[in-house]
Symmetry: C2
Subunit: 336 residues, 2 copies
DNA sequence: ACGGTCCGTTGAAACCTTTCAATCTAGGAG
DNA sequence: CTCCTAGATTGAAAGGTTTCAACGGACCGT
């Protein structure tokens, strides 16, 4: 209830309003005696600084935001953990916003954050080329694209080479002797899904195997549930045409697929080898530990946060395009 | 760059500043012609309303926040999805903050949110009795406790009966013939861990089995990694003393435990039956589908959001304490 | 005792929006 | 032709903080 302001505190402590502000922002400039008095008054009145007013006057905010694609995917929350670590070190708060893969929601959040004049925004966008991002930048808000890149420059980005990841997965499977492989993923509107496919195709071509033997299995989303569905379809194929291995666009799909196979009495990797993508904790924890393309998730977030902080603090900031290298982690699901 | 304000827009459109504000807030009160002119000017200048100033004057904010315990646990992000659904319907933005089980971080976020004068806060607190929460309430910010309850009233809470959940798990295991059961969970500072234990003990006593045969296996955290460690310890026990079933305080532990057993060549449930808690998507997706105590996660969040919205909008708001009933979902990990 | 420093404190201006009473305009009624 | 009304527009005040130039007093050296 006691909606008290600096003015009230000043009155209670018998000092001027400017002094209260000094206690708040430059405690060293105020004598210990008065400082104590003011602090006492603040405690008595239950004073809470009004951040809106502070921000209005000071023009600067103490918060960062990460707009992510899917909060229920552990990959993104791990990235967020990396961001948060750096944010905390810089004494900034991090707000996470979940766009749930919806461009409209994403725009809503970005607008709101822009109005709120946050210090900076990290975003894993639905579409990295979308003008929505340009709007934010034009409004003068530092922005870093995470886990994607942008063809036009003018923005920092931190990503992992998804094409390379796709290559690694397919090369691994071919090394293990597979000659008919499925790529499970979709919808194609998702950039990661496309890039990993491109890498997979590239690697496949170099093997000289018939192009038709790298088969696409489209899914409606990158979820466990969709993975199960893909499993049903997979087992529905006649044995001759059935792939001996699957490369899934992310681990959620892979886990769903894995589950469906096991509960249908098939064996992994004997009946179907599986490679996932992201190497989330649940991949290693699956009862048939999942081979997966590992991305440096925490590092991804941390580096992105560093770039963002540099952009806000350093006038000579240069936009950077950081690309990390993925790594294949081979486990039982392909090694048997 | 064009850090433009209402004043600039007004000048550009040749109207007064109040009119611009009307366009923004009560478009119906302004004639179509001028409205068009103003909107054009806003577009030309790239005007973005300054939310801080708006909030300072209007005293009201358009955002809700959810401070959660562990963003990497799918349970909480599912709860968040339920909240968000309701928030979006009320045209409010939801910011998620991850306390990572740290009371200090939690306090940091709550303070920040209070300064920001958010419209309301939902929180799954590290400690629901903590005075930190009282501070927020005293500052006049509506707050709802999620997935926990509070002994003192004065606050809405939405939770699931964790004691009952503990009972259900143990009763199920006893029904299946187990006479020596482990409770895997910790640290005991976490309320859920304690409550589920209390329920487990209660159910155990009623069976008349020797009290010593319900054994506690303490873990350092509720993570997959800790689950694996618990598995090591479990297999380290002499066969005579080894439990035939384990009830884990959450699914992450259960999945880790499951994995360790399988990779050590044991069979689930023959060698050890396992019940988890939360029924996250990965539980059903585990290669040995996990029996688990299901909580209505989305509903939990949705109901909490409703209570919060009622508190902000309805002067006659009564604090409510909603307790949902959990449900045991039996799968292969206990049924064989 | 005097001038000069330095530290602590002050008060007013500025930040940008919303609100509301007051003013203006056009058009209809008498 | 005048008066009234309803609707559109205006202008100033208010909201809480930070900033900064200015001020006052204490202390030092001479």
């Amino acid at each position: 209830m006691p909606r008290s302001s600096v003015k009230d505190v000043a009155a209670a402590a018998g000092v001027s309003l400017g002094t209260v502000s000094n206690v708040l922002n430059r405690p060293d400039r105020v004598s210990p005696a008065t400082r104590a008095r003011v602090e006492q008054a603040m405690a008595d009145l239950g004073f809470v600084r009004n951040e809106s007013a502070r921000q209005l006057r000071a023009g600067t905010s103490r918060t960062l935001a990460y707009v992510l694609l899917d909060a229920t995917n552990p990959f993104f929350t791990d990235v967020a953990a990396g961001i948060e670590e750096r944010a905390e070190a810089a004494d900034l708060s991090l707000f996470m916003c979940n766009s749930s893969n919806s461009a409209a929601r994403e725009k809503g959040y970005l607008d709101h954050l822009a109005e709120q004049r946050v210090q900076g925004i990290l975003v894993t966008p639905v579409d990295p080329e979308s003008p929505t991002l340009d709007e934010v930048i034009q409004r003068g808000i530092p922005l870093v694209v995470v886990d994607r890149t942008r063809s036009r420059p003018g923005v920092c980005s931190v990503s992992v080479d998804d094409e390379l990841g796709g290559r690694l997965a397919v090369e691994h499977l071919v090394d293990r002797g597979h000659q008919r492989v499925a790529y499970v993923g979709g919808p194609a509107t998702i950039g990661q899904v496309r890039d990993r496919w491109v890498g997979a195709v590239g690697a496949w071509r170099e093997t000289g195997l018939p192009e038709a033997d790298l088969v696409q299995m489209a899914t409606a989303a990158l979820t466990v549930e969709e993975g199960r569905r893909a499993g049903e379809r997979m087992l529905g194929l006649p044995t001759r045409r059935r792939p001996t291995a699957a490369f899934c666009a992310n681990d959620l799909l892979a886990l769903g697929l894995l589950q469906h196979l096991i509960t249908s009495g098939r064996r992994v990797p004997e009946d179907l080898a599986i490679v996932g993508y992201d190497d989330i904790d649940f991949a290693a924890a699956a009862a048939v530990p999942l081979s997966s393309v590992r991305q440096p998730r925490q590092l991804l977030g941390a580096r992105a946060a560093e770039l963002l902080l540099d952009e806000t603090a350093n006038p000579a900031h240069q936009h950077e395009r950081v690309v990390f290298t993925p790594e294949l982690v081979a486990r039982t699901s392909t090694l048997g």
